[in-house]
Amino acid sequence: MGSDIFEVSVNFLKMIVIFLMMVQLVPLLVWVERRGSAFIQNRLGPNRVGPLGLMQLLADAVKFLTKEEFVPAKGYRFLFYTAPVIALIPAALAFGAIPLSAPIRVEAFEWLGRNWGPYTFAFQSYEIGIGIVFVLGASSLAAYALLLAGYGSNNKYSLFGALRASAQTISYELALGLSLVGVLLLFNSFQFSEIVAQQAGPMSFQFLGKQVTVPFLPNWGFFYQPLGAVLLFTAFFAESNRLPFDLPEAEGELVAGYHTEYGGFKMNMFYIGEYGHMMVASALMTTFYFGGYTIYPWLTQESVSSWFSQFTPTQASLLTALVLHLVFMAKVLLFLWIFVWVRWTLPRFRYDQLMDLGWKTMLPWALGNTIVTAIVILIMRTNWSGQ
């Protein structure tokens, strides 16, 4: 975590701040969701508590906090209580591995009569060499929260919802994993920072072994992997059990799915998990296909840091990182808005349609995407002249 006390504490704080940021985004998103749905459906939405209904969030939190606590008599107490906690962890762990901005460089300085630094702090909770695999692995654990909730409630709706949810999650995990192969083929790296770095600058690729540059377009993965991006985004919808894939909680048949028996803050934690998944999904989409925190063609990281040339290098680095972080967050929020938008636009699938879409449509398309990508990359990058 670091070599001395300063680095360790900064890293620890950073981790917690990022986690809390994620948690704090949830009520905001709920508000966006409610206002957004009202906007789409030509209603008003919450607007009584505070300006634009923003204080509604606080009111909700208080309401959640004061709900009565109980476990169904037939439920398994331990599992019933662990499930919501487990729901939080995968999303938090996955989100922590994604770089939210350029790293901050802190020059050596003197403080409390000691020499500190220099340090480099990555703008993420932790840097993991096998980033993509780690994120996949962490989010594949999310199925347990659902299963435990369903089993712990010992209610037929819960159990059925949990099984549905986990079957759906794992089915779409295939399409998800397979569309990531296209990304890997393109960038040949598991590391997010490396992937982002490769997307900086103008569009540039190898054409039959020669380098070709298109100066007016950014070098974003989306231009190379449009199909993969669409597939991945769709799979994320299903992974986070969002509409149009929210079959596990189809009211007509399953009441509220795996969290039928949950109420109060425990229920809220499932929501945090779900929104956490959405955030991870948006962050991954941004990182893989939309250049992460880079903002070319208008600005590069260097030009941003040149704005702050009157500050010390440490401050400049910090400010640059913040600006880039805002850029990143703007992109992420765009995707989160799409999540909301889609939810209130598309109708829900039937379960067989959902499974058919996952296995018989998306998986073959993702396979095709992989094959075509591999062939194109092979043709483009091979040095055919033989020198």
Partner: protein, 123 residues
């Protein structure tokens, strides 16, 4: 371990955070009377008729098995995708593509067999 430690710390922190929230909720939560009806499983207001696991299609289980198998095949493609560029640079692009083509042929055959054999049908 230095890469792993923060992950462990974060996981522990998140778990503590969640437990703390639940503890707070139970502290501030309303203390209502617990009656047998309140604590019974939710069944849209009627008496619980049967055990939850009586009528669950085993279909889910087949989906899970197929998922595992395809998941591993996909995982096998990750190192390939990772090293693809290196292989091409080393002039072995055709070779690595051929090796994967055989694997993919098996994969595709399996997938279409499953589709054709209606193992993935949900009625």
């Amino acid at each position: 371990m230095s890469q792993l430690l923060p992950v462990v710390v974060l996981a522990i922190f998140v778990a503590t955070f969640g437990l703390l929230l639940m503890f707070l909720a139970s502290l501030f939560g309303a203390k209502g009377k617990k009656s047998a009806t309140k604590l019974s499983s939710y069944e849209c207001g009627v008496e619980v008729a049967a055990s939850p696991t009586t009528k669950i299609p085993i279909k889910f289980y087949l989906t899970a098995i197929l998922f595992i198998l395809f998941d591993i095949e996909i995982i096998f493609m990750y190192p390939w995708a990772l090293a693809y560029g290196d292989f091409i640079e080393a002039g072995l692009g055709i070779y690595i593509s051929g090796a994967m083509a055989v694997f993919l042929a098996i994969f595709i055959f399996g997938l279409f067999w499953e589709i054709k054999s209606r193992a993935l049908e949900w009625e």
